[in-house]
Amino acid sequence: MSPVLAGVLQLLALIAALALVYVPLGNYMAGVYSSDKHWRVEKWIYKGIGANPDTEMRWPAYLRGVLAFSAVGVLFLYLLQRVQGALPGSLGFASIDPDQAFNTAASFVTNTNWQSYYGEQAMGHVVQTAGLAVQNFVSAAVGIAVAVALVRGFARARTGELGNFWADLVRGTVRILVPVAAIAAVVLVACGAIQNFSGIHEVGQFMGGSQQWNGGAVASTEAIKEVGTNGGGIFNANSAHPFENPIPFTNLFEIFLILVIPLSLTRTFGVLVGSVKQGYAILATMATIWIGFTALMMWTEFSHHGPAFEIAGGAMEGKEVRFGVGGSSIFAVATTLTSTGAVDSFHSSFTGLGGGITMLGMMLGEIAPGGVGSGLYGMLIMAIIAVFIAGLMVGRTPEYLGKKIGTREIKLAAMYILVTPALVLIFTAAAMALPTPQNSMTNSGAHGFSEILYAYTSGANNNGSAFAGLNADTQWFNTTIGLAMLLGRFVPMVFVLALAGSLAEQKPVPATAGTLRTEKPLFTGLLVGAILIITGLTYFPALALGPLAEGMAS
């Protein structure tokens, strides 16, 4: 069997597995966020928090909950790293410097997991498990909570109430993320991922001498790292490291974990708004982009343009033999079209166009299928933009899911889509204009520019993967990427929740013959077009200077 065929079959198997769980998981999650029963363990947790889970919140209250919880998260994680040197179970690692601790705290709380540190040389067991991995769970739960609040905005009428943030946070963690991650973690250990609390120790080698091994709660972290679309690995090599991703099956399994919640949430959305067909339309949009990008990526990686790869006879630099070009291409697209940013191969050593595809995936705003929660709300914002464009064409007031998209709604949606591009382009321009940031580049020319463009794209879109040649552990990058992550996560959330509030207050408008049927393929086509055109127009000049220039030259 040729590697290309094997790659295609892996993609098909992945699609089949995702299709199999789509309905049950999507329905289950819809139940989680609409049930009025509390589990016993949840009641204990609410008692601990001191919050009444049955109090309905209007959007400002919901937003305050999100921001307060996240602010405390940043502060706690910052302090934990700052005192690491004094904590037991820290493998002898020192406390993290202030700028890097800020960057890392912002990174994990925003579901980005950008890492300017070397995992196995910086973070001990306590910070990894009780700090970073906790945010892997709760940042994901916050993302889903905000998405569910927006969905409630569509589903509810004549009320401003969006649900209770604490209940959504706790349920997402306890009923969805912990069980899925626990099953996944056991599967990963059974396949060879490590799970222990050993210190750094010497292990004998074949030729004599020894290797140094780190222990770690790797499988448990790896599981939530993928399920929560986080991406921050225990090891510097991330999911390319054999202890995180030991065999070809785990590679495919981890890609499955990355995609399973974001895709199934479209079912949850369909159920909650009372029309699973609307969910299918959103799913079709995500799947079209995802499969299209994967096909493009396989094509460019298998055809291996670029001087070094042409001499070598294949684009295997930065890729593992066990995954090959096919498995690595599928992973790279899944991780950059979601907010994951885990890598099983190093994007900086992909072909010029392949690197461009990973960047473009993030630039779409990570909505196909996007991060857990953030992908769904990002895609729904694009859907609003698409019905607005369609409305302009026929001269009707646009509506979506029975809600009018008026001036206030379209303003909020437009603000949402402006935030990340503004962050990416302004910070990239500033880094290129100043003399020192450029010293961090490993490669020169177009690829050097790509390293910096990638860094801010990854940060502002909360992805966390890197063209890792860039030395990002400088005060400039730690600070600016930290800010890009925080602003890129929470400013859009403000607009999403404000929009949700305004939709929930409306009374539904009945569908007429003139209503755009948003559950039909025509709408899916319109939505894909709107996404590609808006992103294309925004980022084309920047992409032309980086990956396109590199891809054209080779």
Partner: protein, 222 residues
Amino acid sequence: MNNSLTNTARLLGAGLRALLVLTLVTGVIYPLVITGIAQGLFSDKANGSEIKADGKVVGSSLIGQSYNLPLKKGQETPDPDLKWFQGRPQNGLGSNSVNTQYKLILSGATNRSGDNEDLIQWVNDAQTAVADVNSVPGYKVERSDVPADAVTSSGSGLDPHISRDYADLQVHRVAQQNKLSVSQVQKLVNDHVEGRTLGFIGEPRVNVLELNIALKAVMAKS
């Protein structure tokens, strides 16, 4: 003013309590339970899939190693020990100083792009070296015969595998160096080829450490 300050404080207090409770669930109970299950059911794997030869631990079946001669005086990078099958680029077979050379305390890739001068140089050097050392009387290896994984470094820098092609390419050299027959060594390689899982997942490959352990066993017998 005072009112909003108290409200903010109350909200942050709730946030902190929520974080602490959820830290207990996801940051303490969850990893400990998983560790318990892992150590109880899969302790070999959970501790790194250690592999033994002659009763001694010689590494992990998941982690690549180097098979080099001892460093000579004045040398910065040791020469490969040509008796043994060699893994993906490291010192000697393509002088790649960024690769972590299987020392493992820091994993990672070179992150060089396809048009990077260093990478072009490394690939060229490695290809010449691989073709050169594997050419033995009666078996000539051309540069174009060298597979891509033999001249590029992996994502982790710890790749335990090589492609089947690269293993086959080394058979004549290894046989000559160890005074074994080519068919004997080829059989070893054939026995150690792992195919794709279920016929389509991943790529066919050979685990270099396991192959060298088997080679050592054959040499001990002959």
